[in-house]
Symmetry: C2
Subunit: 243 residues, 2 copies
């Protein structure tokens, strides 16, 4: 089964959480919008799919996963769908519920990190909302960033199966997403993030463990990994990195 | 099985999405934080549970559902867990994935609606961020509100089983949540919402159909239903209702 991932081709964004799961599991997938328009791929193929008026389940926004006849939007829903097949979630109901609960909390933090540079509207540029961004980033760095990272530290520390993973004793899609979250926070808010991470050694160790997984390591060095840049969720605006 | 719902006792907030599912299904539940502290309930009971240092799955924030030994946070995860038992989701994988995808899109809109009055920080009052709120509400009312509601209209219209529900031919937790979303939008942004709803008759009809369900109707008239107020997600600030 070849999965189709549909996501904006020039940013890691929310698509990266899906890409990491596919890569870590060694799944076969096509990154449609980054493909060759001459071969029926590229951005036009993604846009055509999104505008298909006969699609009964049109997603609200990318990322979108096509798995056979199933078309799925919303990052956390995609990961939950992929989890059992890619062996990136535990088998019990309790493990699945807990993994998804963590994933949605990661998603909440991702949205809040994004909104530091776009607190007014996604349709405006950062420069058009810079005063608001400064205020929001101050609250994010001082209140939200510690609160979220300390929660991740707490649940890692309390994991009855040990502190190598978020859920049970095996890698889950939530571990991969937490890795990406830490990557993004270190890129966007290097000083503020470091100030918190000194007190969350479990989060730092889990991040390092994910980075060292052979498939993840190979992927991170490949051209398939899109570097962070000034168009995505995590952007490097030093003024917003408030300690 | 008696469920325990843990949520802030004076606002509908995100807890209301869970409460509506429990009420519509006629489930037996205790609304812990609204109970009698003398009987071991009330806000202290919720806070004690959240601060339990031995809890391996501490939720990040309410609402929280206790179902036997399972403790679940994140509104959408709670609803997904309740869905099969309460018969508020279809049986097929496709129906379950689609229902959850819609729920997460409702959750995204709820967050954006909340952030109109708190675009800077939840720790500040509305008055402390009013200029930013005006700008964010303008973008929300003019761009996001139509985009989201038109998406709901599209998926209702395209439902192959007919336009009485969001998913298939039966009531799901997503229908109940869309009802609550429309209620909240009409309360917080009456003029802007009405301007969009004239073009989304499917959403209006579905809202009315949910309101008329016997159990929902009885619940809405009961004291168990907390009215919208100036503390929750949906607040009535006329300045933010921008057409």
């Amino acid at each position: 089964m070849t999965y189709e991932l549909h996501y904006w081709p020039t940013i890691p964004g929310r698509g990266e959480f899906v890409r990491l799961a596919l890569e870590a599991a060694g799944a076969v997938y096509v990154d449609i919008a980054r493909g060759d328009p001459g071969a029926g791929q590229g951005l036009p193929a993604m846009q055509k799919m999104m505008q298909d008026r006969h699609q009964p389940h049109p997603p609200f926004a990318p990322p979108i996963l096509k798995d056979g006849a199933l078309l799925i939007g919303q990052t956390a829903t995609i990961l939950q769908h992929l989890g059992p097949t890619l062996k990136l979630v535990g088998r019990s109901d309790a493990a699945r519920v807990w993994t998804q609960q963590i994933q949605l909390t990661i998603a909440d933090m991702v949205t809040e990190a994004h909104d530091t540079h776009h607190p007014v509207a996604g349709s405006l540029t950062y420069e058009d909302q810079q005063p608001e961004a400064l205020r929001r980033a101050s609250a994010f760095c001082r209140e939200r960033l510690p609160k979220f990272l300390q929660w991740f530290e707490t649940i890692i520390t309390r994991n009855p199966a040990g502190s190598r993973h978020l859920v049970g004793g095996k890698l889950s899609y939530a571990d991969l997403s937490l890795f990406q979250l830490v990557e993004g926070l270190r890129y966007a808010f290097p000083r503020a993030t470091q100030a918190v991470l000194v007190a969350t050694p479990g989060v730092v160790a889990l991040h390092g463990r994910v980075a060292a997984l052979p498939r993840v390591k190979a992927y991170l060095r490949s051209e398939r990994r899109i570097p962070f840049n000034q168009e995505g969720i995590f952007r490097q605006y030093p003024a917003l990195d408030i300690v």
